[in-house]
Amino acid sequence: MEHSGEQHHPIRVYLVVWGLLFLLSTMSYLVDFFEVRPKELAWFLITAFALLKAGLIVSYFMHVRFERLSLVYAILLPPLLIVALAAFVMAEGGYVFDVRALFFGR
């Protein structure tokens, strides 16, 4: 990285990423449009496409790929906690569903 902290990249990089984002969005839309089954496969594909899109935006549009490692770690590690939170509350959600079904019927 330059001393001034400026980011200089050829415009082609942004256009290619833009195109890839369009492609991935279209593909995830098509998964829903054609109702890909089993449902688990659709969920997997949609999640995979979303993560790829997120990776492209963060790496190239937000220039994280070109930043110092200390900054990259400070940005990318904390959000992993959200995965833990989601895992906990999803288990909780399933439990609440069971309790409701047990006490209130459907």
Binding site: S4, G5, E6, Q7, H8, H9, I11, Y14, L15, V17, W18, L21, F22, S25, S28, Y29, V31, D32, F33, A42, W43, I46, T47, F49, A50, K53, A54, I57, V58, Y60, F61, M62, H63, E67, R68, S70, L71, A74, I75, P78, P79, L81, I82, L85, A86, V89, M90, E92, G93, G94, V96, F97, R100, A101, F104, R106
Partner: protein, 229 residues
Amino acid sequence: MAQQTQSREDRSLALPRWLRDLVADWSSDQQTFKVNWGKAMMWIFVVSDTFVFGSFLSAYAAARLSATLPWPDPAKVFALHIGESEVPLLLIAIMTFVLISSSGTMAIAVKYGYERNRAKAALFLTLTALLGLTFVSMQAFEWTKLIHEGFRPWTNPIGAPQFGSSFFMITGFHGLHVTAGVIYLAIVASQVLRGAYEKIGYQRVEIAGLYWHFVDLVWVFIFAFFYLF
């Protein structure tokens, strides 16, 4: 001179040596991250905002999993009638492409800013803001349509009442971010045009870009997990 100031501060703080070293390493983001302070601050905001939306989406997952009534199918709720046929999620797909395009124009605006091409940087910033405005308008249309169909944060005519609370909360908060971003970008664009960054450098365009790309990033996950799941 600097040495003296430091030793006086050290005595007054009376920190143990290991803590003093730690503070010295982290007390200035210039030493740790080697980026300008504005960028470091925006990254701190973005990471904390990630937690806000992460919590919303986690809460949505919990609400959906615990709902005993069937969850309304987003493909049907957000379908548009084109002539005779019903196209699922058409408006949402268009909104996604609009927001992605605005991210593309934003990245190009940052590039032209650093190249000190003021006219083009301002042009692409304005374009980004206009695309953001288009997105918010379509979101407003979607809300109006759903409210007319009887969707409320506490109830709806076709299924689990939790659907409305998740939908209005998540898309509302995201729409608020887009609206704030449009205003932010308009201000930055006018400052670029005025030449306000000629002396201080064009980092502020990149910082505004970080915010805008983050808004796009959040939409990626809302689109995937709320609309497509």
